[in-house]
Symmetry: C2
Subunit: 142 residues, 2 copies
DNA sequence: TATTAAAGAATAACGATTTTCGAATACCCG
DNA sequence: CGGGTATTCGAAAATCGTTATTCTTTAATA
């Protein structure tokens, strides 16, 4: 990336706080697309006083300055991803895990849609649902 | 369709009630992908005593017997669609309307993904975001 | 038409997210 | 490097969509 988180925060008029760096670190170092609760829990050890509200407010800022994307995979809560590349997601309907799907040319599909509808498209989200390899092995597959 | 709503309800062990028929009628006669609140409001005139809880429970049943699909277009509430065909949706980020996108071969994309990941896919949802033709005319476009 | 299990309406409960507001602190300036 | 100040933090309460509970009504069958 061109700028690091500290520069981006300061450049957008936000203060650089340990909490913000910590929340971003969690997101940047996992591939598990955690929700707010999961981020909160994983920070309990190092930041015992941090509240869920702070996690939400921080995510809001990180999203605003383009450092995290918000996933709405049809669950009861949102998930967050520090990987800003345009990629789809697949959720296992058995265990709930959410994985990345990189081999999909979304731009091509988007161009087709833009030609078909008369919308001027600004973004898209593709979600796939199925059973992950692990759960298939578990024999839970019917 | 092969069976009508009355047969489907009864065949699945559900009673056929005026409320259920009414909720389905609303969904079947609109292309606006209403959420629960919108369905509730549009039934106020004819069913002044119906409660929101009934709308939710009815939608739940209609979804269970395969008569409506649930849309999660990244808003704060769910939308519902009586068109069960596999089609994508596009939401206008200006006015909030949700339109259908039929010209997209989702099955083909799904097959590609299934080959790439090792998931066994059971479904997918594609959502596009942009500015609808009306809002583009409004000059709100930047 | 009577029986009865299921459904409706009203209300309370629930969980994720947002807001409020006094206390704490990052950052600019000297 | 320390002070002043606007911003942020954190705890609690509020909000909002949705779900559960309770009690009353009703559809379906004989």
């Amino acid at each position: 990336m061109s700028k690091n988180i500290t520069e981006l925060l300061r450049g957008n008029g936000f203060k650089v706080t340990p909490q913000r760096l910590a929340v971003y670190e969690v997101l940047a170092n996992t591939k598990e697309h955690p929700n707010a609760e999961m981020i909160f829990s994983s920070l309990q050890a190092t930041y015992p006083t941090m509240s869920l509200a702070t996690v939400y407010k921080t995510i809001d800022i990180l999203h605003e300055i383009g450092l995290v994307q918000i996933l709405n995979a049809g669950e009861d809560s949102f998930r967050y991803d520090a990987d800003m590349s345009n990629h789809a997601h697949v959720r296992c309907v058995e265990c709930g895990r959410v994985d990345d799907v990189f081999d999909l040319d979304a731009a091509k599909v988007t161009r087709e849609i833009e030609a078909g509808t008369r919308y001027r498209l600004t973004g898209q989200q593709f979600y796939f649902y199925g059973v992950c390899p692990e759960c298939q092995k578990q024999g839970k597959a019917h």
